[in-house]
Subunit: 558 residues, 2 copies
């Protein structure tokens, strides 16, 4: 049944993909309204299925269902809700846009945002309530429903990506016109409707605003489809019940990472704004903007690489067994990281090749080489770090118990000695406690001390206190080292999280040095390079968002 | 380490892919010799690694190594050897071609086939000896070596596919010139070197021959890379030792399927020959050839669908638990089937869309619609059949033991009754044996009868004989039904195997109705459609070969 439904989903997706492709290449006889009708139909089918599922799960609430504790984490749900809200704003903009241009747009362009809004609301509700479900009944029907939802979201994602790419390409072409490259035959694509707007100011707000909201819409759909995919993989699965430790996100202890990360974030936003203003104005301004962008990116990437290497070294220092149990959510995470990184690796290799093979090298293009190499290395290291982090077992609690047991055992062995030195011991203990190099000891160390002191109150002996202190000493320093390591890792994860968020912004909002630096276009030719960029860029953008999400998880878990 | 090496492999592959792409789009400053040097380097690295591995495994032969019995089946090895031999012929042709044109070709074009030949020989030897290995030592280095080999083969595959596609495209363009479509700007691509040949007849043989041998070269590389991938997945795996039943391939019992399959095979070859002669001669001849091709394909596909549905119905009739244990070779098989089928589904959806949206419909294009729909359905059904087959447990032996036990239990319960009816019982047994409807009973049924009769010789009783007969009766008829089912399944698998081989031939040797029927080109435009076909076609071709291989396995196992 898994194969049955996945093949259905793939065919659904391929048909939609070809419709999208046909629209993109302006195929004869296929217009945007065909594509939109197809999407509307898919969304309606999904709506019906979700309603049926919600009704059925309401009536059968008494049935205790299995939950996959790894799937649908709370921060994922919060993220998707945030994106969904922005998507709803986008939909309302689109409806407004349609109303303004209603006399020259086909009705499907009005129906689409309405359906999409309804679809978004219900889907978010559905994911909030049922993302953790492990469905055990009506498996075949459920599989079809879920896979239908997965591929509907993927198609909506494709559609969003394509619209966004077209918009970026138009902007790039406009810049080329400004810079005087009139020799390329430039055709602006789907730029504006053929009729005038009824209220001009509103129109420009809507059409401008739509493109600033698209990146969020794109992220929303890809997130929804990954969550649904995990749901699909979980259908019919048998889970062993793991104890899940609630790991709420805490700010304290990661200030250093946060500060550095926020510096990067703000500087990136500043750079993006300057870049978008400067680029395409004139040749010199463009080159300056590019140089600035590259230098900033190189600096950030070097920092990220260093952080990643430090984190990996820390992991190498303490060998801990990895948790290799089956887990669809985690497996998907790892595969997505590597798979989507391939998109940006492709772009980077393209740049490297172009720089090596180009005949003319303007000065600013040389910055492209370290930038591209660093992008490759940074993703390589970061993937290793994230994947190792999410595969590490949460052994802290066990560790604590183990060390406590060692302490009690070492105490037990000294039980039979002279019982008169109790006061001396207690004095020693109080005195030595201040001198022990447990400057960084956390709550665990302190708690253990309390526990072991409590045990000792009635039973500890003077002769044993030497051994006891020794063991306690090593315990404290060990746990403080572990605590230090954990704090460093938490800081690194927080820093990388904010860096990835920062690096998501430039490509998502239209900083495309791959277009603007012009080198690759000369080497590969305009059309081929644009095809490559448009294919690889969505994955590259998604990579940043996905790795940010994973790093957030790492931060919570560590 | 798995992630570390896979990321290395992906980057290796992406760099090569971009070089290939750059060559394909005639990028400035990147020539074929750059690409070939890159490939030669990769092959040499792989050669060194394989030599090191072979040496090491020779010196450490005393170590008993685990073997994955599912990986590297013998027929797979035979298949790859066959393809490798043809690849060696191809290499020798290429060397001859280079010698003839040596004054105007770069030396890399001569070095490449020599390296490739050495690489092929050593790799086949390596796969024969070590395809089943489960490597447990030097894991990191081995992982890098194996993944390097995987992606080297994939790159060689890409290179082969691209050369083949260019050749097909050139032929198509030549046909268009003959048919008088001069309005499309037609540039023949990498068609012939710029200098004259030293010995003209040999040259034409070489350059013609190369293109007939390419399909085998392509299959060789993809097969090698799948086998190496399984080897890579197996590194460090812990296997439970399954008893592997040797299942040699037997011809007897599958005559019906073989006969039908051979009819399809011969007719397909005939059709391909006629098609290649007729197409592009004139408009009428082309249309006739297309009609003939479509009708034949529709007929074959309907037969295949029917066979597949029957097989699936048989599976539905007896519910048997599926074997869901972890197994990289099998998992890869299933994923490859669905993944590569997506390539041809994409093409089919393109055709369907084109037919629906086209303005003018010449008569022969209508045959394209059922053809495309049938291609989708046929692959859907066939994938279900193959994947279900390879996941079924080999329970026959267990089944037999179980039923035998039932028989002995039923005999045991009647042991205490009157012992004087022995002669009567034996008479009855001889008489009834002739009347039992076990007309189709196979060796199992007969063997069980012997065993149970032997048991009865000394102990069976007259009163129990009624019950005994009843159980034996149902046993025989049940096992004969199972035997019938198995025979039908074997025949279907054999038939589908030959059909898939047949359907591999037309696209591999240049029957491309997707080009020749012209409808899609009109709707999507010439360039976009050619891009789609060139991307999807290699997967479609590989699908046929891969499904044929899987069906062969199914046939052996059933």
């Amino acid at each position: 049944a898994e194969i049955l439904s996945s093949q259905y989903g793939i065919n659904l997706f391929l048909a939609g993909l070809l419709l999208t492709f046909a629209w993109a290449v302006h195929a004869v006889g296929i217009s945007k309204s065909h594509l939109l009708s197809y999407l509307i139909t898919l969304m309606l089918v999904q709506l019906l299925w979700m309603l049926w599922y919600l009704c059925r799960s309401c009536t059968q609430r008494r049935l205790i269902r299995d939950k996959d504790t790894h799937a649908g984490a709370r921060w994922l749900k919060c993220g998707i809700t945030l994106f969904a809200v922005i998507t709803l704003i986008l939909d309302s903009f689109k409806i407004g846009y349609y109303v303004d241009f209603s006399n020259c747009l086909s009705p499907t362009e009005g129906i689409f945002p309405v359906t999409h809004a309804a679809h978004t609301i219900l889907q978010v509700y559905f994911l909030w309530c049922h993302a953790k479900d492990i469905i055990q009944s009506f498996k075949t029907l459920e599989r079809f429903g879920v896979i239908h939802s997965v591929f509907t979201n993927l198609l909506l994602w494709t559609n969003g990506v394509l619209t966004e790419s077209k918009h970026q390409l138009n902007e790039h072409k406009e810049r080329l016109i400004t810079l005087g490259f009139g020799n390329i035959t430039i055709v602006l694509d789907d730029h504006a409707p053929q009729c005038n707007c009824t209220t001009t100011t509103l129109c420009s707000i809507f059409s401008q605003g739509i493109y600033y909201l698209y990146p969020f819409n794109i992220e929303y759909h890809i997130l929804a489809s990954t969550m649904l995919y995990v749901l699909w993989k979980n259908i019919g699965r048998k889970v062993e019940h793991h104890q899940q430790y609630k790991t709420p996100f805490k700010f304290h202890g990661i200030t250093v990472g946060m500060i550095f990360g926020l510096i990067v974030l703000t500087s990136t936003i500043a750079i993006v704004v300057v870049y978008l203003i400067q680029i395409g104005r004139s040749k010199i301004k463009s080159e300056l903007a590019l140089t600035m962008f590259y230098l900033h990116a190189i600096f950030v990437l070097v920092l990220m690489c260093t952080a990643g290497v430090i984190a990996l070294l820390i992991y190498r220092l303490d060998d801990r067994s990895l948790d290799n149990s089956k887990n669809p959510a985690r497996k998907l995470d790892a595969e997505l990281l590597v798979g989507t990184a391939a998109g940006s690796w492709l772009l980077s290799w393209g740049s490297i090749l172009a720089i090596i093979c180009a005949q003319a090298h303007p000065k600013y293009t040389w910055y492209n080489l370290p930038y591209s190499i660093l992008v490759i290395i940074e993703k390589y290291i970061q993937n290793l770090f994230i994947i190792e982090s999410i595969h590490r077992e949460q052994e802290k609690v066990n560790d604590d118990i183990k060390t406590l047991r060692i302490v009690t055992v070492s105490q037990g062995s000294t039980l039979t000695l002279t019982p008169s030195y109790k006061e001396i011991y207690n004095g020693h203990a109080a005195q030595d406690a201040g001198e022990l190099p447990c400057l960084f000891r956390g709550s665990i160390c302190a708690r253990e001390r309390v526990v072991s002191s409590g045990d000792n109150e009635g039973t500890s002996q003077g002769d044993g206190s030497g051994i006891h202190f020794a063991s306690e000493f090593s315990l404290c320093s060990r746990s403080s080292v572990a605590d230090n390591k954990r704090r460093i890792l938490k800081n690194i994860a927080a820093f990388l999280f904010l860096c990835n968020l920062s690096l998501w912004i430039p490509p998502a909002f239209g900083c495309r040095p791959e277009y603007d630096n012009g080198l690759e276009e000369i080497v590969f030719g305009f059309e081929p390079w644009i095809i490559v960029v448009n294919l690889a860029m969505p994955f590259s953008i998604f990579y940043r968002m996905h790795s940010a999400a994973s790093l957030f998880e790492v931060n919570c878990k560590t």
